[in-house]
Symmetry: C5
Subunit: 98 residues, 5 copies
C-alpha cells in the first residue's frame, strides 16, 4: 500500500455500469524516499471505501487487490482507499500529517 | 485509475482473435504531480468500453481489472477506458479540461 | 497495451517446460509522451502470438492478461505480443511507422 | 521480491474490516542498481507476516501474490513482508546490513 | 519477461513457510533502451526455478505469472527465473553476454 493525500474528486456520468454510486477521489502519493510527507508521484483516481475526505491522509491499495473490498467487488477498479491514516511513526518519532 | 486524454487510435489487422471488434484508442496519462492537467506519462493503448472519442478526458483502468468490463471479458487486455470525465475538482476549484 | 518495435530475439535452452516452442522476441516500447514513435523504455522479452518479425511495430500486453492468449495459457509469461500495428493516427494525422 | 529496510509504522483506526489486527510497517526499498544497500525508492506500507521490527532488513512481495500468506489471505493488500534477511552475498562477498 | 544478470543470493531464516527450500537469487535487470547488455534497473530478488548461478544471464517473470512454475506454485512470490539465456540477437547481430 502507499500513503496518499486526498486532493479532490472526479465526476463521470458516462461510465461503466459497475462504477455507479462509487465515490472517485483524486489522491497524490504523499511520502518520499526519506519517509517525509510530501508529494512523491502522479495523481491517481481511487475509489473510496472508508469515507475519506479532501485533505485527509489515506492508505490505498493498487492492482487486483483493489477489488477485494465490499465496495469494489468484481468492478474494473485498480485503486482503492482502504484506511484513513491516524499516525505515522518513523525512527521512533511522529511524522506530522497534512 | 488514471486520468488520460484520448489523442488517437491504432489499427491492427493481424491480431489475437479476442481483439476483433475492439476499438483501440491511444491515450496519454494527463495529470501531473500537482493535480494539473498536463501530459504526465508515455502513451498507452486502451480498449474503449464507454464510447470515448479523440480529445476527450477519460478514466482508465490497468492490470487484471481491465478485463472486468463487458467489452474486455477474458481478453488479453491490460488497459481499458471505464469513464469519460465530466469534471475534476482540486482544492475546491474546478480544473479546466482539454 | 503498449506499442513496441521488435528488435531481436532471445534463445534459451535451459528453461521452464511451459516455455518449449514459444518464440521469444526482444521488443522496445516505441512511443513517447507526445505520441511520436521513438524508443521510450527498457527492452522487454515478449512471447509472440501473432507471427511478428524483426523491425515490425507491435502491440503487447503485460501482467496476468499476458496469459490470456492460446499460445501463453497457464504459462509463467508476463508479456505477449497481441497484434501487429498497421496504422497509428494521432490528431487526425497518420504517424510514420518504422 | 525486493529488499527493504523497516523504518516505522502506520496506525489507522478507520479502515477496511479485513485490515483489523494487521501490523502495518513503513518500509523503504533498500538496494540500488549496483547491489549496494541504500535507499532506492519511495516508502511503501507493507503488512508484516513474519514478526519484523524497526531497523530490520526484510524481503517483501507485491501485487496479487501479497495475498498468498496466512496473514493476508483474501484481504485488499498489495505488499507483504515475507522474510527477514540474514545475509546478502554479492559477487562472493557479504554485503553489510543496516 | 526481462533479461537480468545473477549477481548474488539472499539468505533468510525467519520467513513464510512456503519459502522453505526456495533458492533466492539477487538479480539485476540487464538490458538498456538500445538493447545493449548493461545494468538497467534496481536489484530484484527472484526465486530460481531453472538452476541458475552467479554471473549467468537469465530471463525472469514478474507479477502473478511468477506463481505459474512448479517451484513457486501458490507461494507469495512475485519474481521467478524461468530460463537461462543462451544468445540474444539484435538487428541480426549477436549481443555479447556477461
Amino acid at each position: 500500500m502507499f500513503i496518499a493525500k486526498v486532493i479532490g474528486n472526479v465526476v463521470s456520468t458516462q461510465k461503466i455500469e459497475k462504477f455507479r454510486g462509487m465515490k472517485l477521489l483524486l489522491i497524490q502519493p504523499y511520502i518520499n524516499k526519506e519517509g517525509k510527507l510530501e508529494i512523491s508521484g502522479s495523481s491517481v483516481v481511487a475509489v473510496d471505501s472508508v469515507g475519506a475526505g479532501a485533505g485527509e491522509c489515506v492508505l490505498f491499495t493498487q492492482g487486483s487487490s483493489a477489488r477485494l473490498t465490499p465496495t469494489t467487488k468484481d468492478a474494473p477498479v485498480d485503486a482503492v482507499i482502504v484506511g484513513i491514516v491516524d499516525t505515522i511513526e518513523v525512527g521512533g518519532a511522529m511524522v506530522a500529517k497534512p
